[in-house]
């Protein structure tokens, strides 16, 4: 088939409605209309979005699609519904001048690179993210999670699971694996979870590299400092990406999985009765609660034929993990249901292909340990309210769902 110039069915902009666990119905309508549908990107260019599982995986695995030019995942139109435009315009990064070395590092963002250039930099950091390495981190993660449970009890009985539990678990693990000493934790959170300029981030990274030069450890920074094939601009580029990459995605997943369980008591009961089910259930948390509505768009380097669709060279193609994760063509009947007994491996919650999440094995351990400890520690845990139950503006300009506050009561009211 060819792509109709005018999509006869629906809007061509990304829908701003929908929530993590109940995405916009427009995504399902798009998926029914075709494996690829036209999409108006926020920067004004036109392209396609892959809505079905097989098409999405095919694009993400195909080297004929380039990460260049760099295009952010599209957000909803800035002139959206009343009241939304202002909050949607909050940038992820504060504007500001960036020095020449920082600009050179920014050019080397792994998410802008293809082929050998990408492989060289990605391989410089794969060592710390293997299944074996993630398992070796389990005891540390378990101890740290126990500390966060103790902190929750102290703060309770009503807490915000995102701010008081999920975020510190994610940020502390990030620091531990990358090799950011604990005394920099607050600064790391201020720069990479909250808002800062690119220059502030590079200044932090450079000072950290100085500090760590004489104190090697079992961490990413040590590996990078000892790698003779990398220059300083490359090392700083990798660290900027890695520090920002887990910015709040693991915390988002812990918070969203909690909301999914607390709003689906029969699913919660399964995991309370059979805690060993939690390991595979993490995949269902990732499938049903995927964060990215669209990924960074790829550009076809040549004419490509996928799933019967002809994609001309130069076409910008994004992928919707949220849509693909609910494709009945792949997941069978009731893909909309949250079902912790489902075999959800192969979901696009960590992306897919060579740019897929490098930290996914560590993330799996974090999410599993966080939810396990939460369920074990608080048998009467109950949801009070969660912002993510109603549509929230995307964190402009990236089309991702936000965790929002997740208010829970730890113990039954006296």
């Amino acid at each position: 088939m060819t792509i109709p110039a005018e999509c006869p069915f629906h809007s061509r902009s990304l829908p701003g409605d929908g929530t993590p666990l109940a995405p916009s119905p427009q995504l399902a309508a798009w998926r029914e209309a075709g494996a690829f549908v036209p999409l108006d990107f926020q920067d004004g260019h036109e392209g396609l979005v892959a809505t079905r599982y097989e098409a999405a995986v095919a694009v993400l695995q195909d080297p004929r699609f380039s990460m260049r030019p760099s295009r952010m995942p599209v957000g909803p139109p800035a002139h959206g519904e009343e009241g939304k435009a202002e909050s949607a315009a909050v940038p992820l990064e504060a504007p500001g001048e960036l020095d020449a070395s920082g600009q050179a590092s920014d050019e080397l963002n792994l998410l802008n690179l293809d082929g050998d250039e990408h492989a060289k930099l990605r391989r410089a950091v794969t060592a710390r993210f293997s299944v074996r390495q993630a398992r070796a981190r389990e005891p540390w993660i378990r101890t740290m999670v126990a500390e966060q449970i103790a902190a929750l009890r102290e703060r309770g009985p009503v807490v915000d699971l995102w701010r008081d539990y999920a975020m510190p678990i994610s940020a502390r693990t990030h620091c531990h694996v990358l090799g950011i000493p604990e005394h920099h934790y607050e600064r790391f959170v201020a720069l990479f979870v909250e808002e800062s300029t690119a220059q502030q981030k590079y200044d932090f990274i450079r000072a950290l590299l100085e500090e760590r030069a004489d104190s090697p450890g079992e961490d990413v920074i040590t590996d990078l400092l000892q790698n003779p094939e990398l220059d300083r601009v490359e090392v700083e580029a990798l660290l900027r990406l890695l520090m920002g990459a887990g910015r709040d995605s693991v915390a988002y997943l812990i918070a969203t999985a909690s909301v999914a369980l607390l709003t689906n008591p029969e699913q919660l009961a399964i995991l309370r009765a059979e805690p060993e089910q939690l390991r595979p259930a993490v995949e269902e948390f990732m499938r049903a609660g995927a964060m990215f509505v669209t990924l960074f768009a790829r550009t076809a380097l040549e004419d490509v034929e996928i799933e019967g669709t002809h994609i001309p060279a130069g076409t910008s193609v994004s992928v919707s993990p949220v849509a693909a994760n609910r494709d009945p063509g792949h997941w069978g009947e009731r893909p909309e249901e949250f079902d912790v007994t489902r075999d959800a491996f192969g979901h696009l919650g960590f992306g897919y292909g060579i740019h897929g999440c490098i930290g996914q094995q560590v993330a799996r351990v974090e999410i599993r340990e966080a939810i396990t400890a939460l369920l074990e520690s608080f048998p009467e845990l109950a949801l009070v309210d969660a912002e993510q139950l109603t549509p929230q503006p995307f964190a402009h300009p990236v089309a991702v769902y936000e965790a929002g506050t997740v208010t829970v009561r730890l113990e039954a009211a006296a």
Partner: protein, 64 residues
């Protein structure tokens, strides 16, 4: 059935070592390591699943 691995293509996502730990591991650099080139029974089923899940198409089944 034999397993073929292409270490050049591997991106260290670790899906294979996760779902078929008796067939695949990762070396010190995170790159795929083949433990059992001719898996049988449950290991073959797990390896087949790993082939399907590999995001970089770095592993394959060969009937040769």
């Amino acid at each position: 059935m034999s397993i073929l691995v292409q270490t050049d293509a591997c991106v260290g996502a670790g899906q294979c070592a996760l779902v078929a730990p008796d067939v695949f591991d990762q070396d010190d650099n995170g790159i795929v390591l083949l433990l059992e080139p001719d898996p049988e029974g449950a290991d073959l089923a797990a390896a087949t699943r790993a082939v399907r899940l590999c995001p970089a198409r770095a592993i394959a089944l060969s009937t040769a």
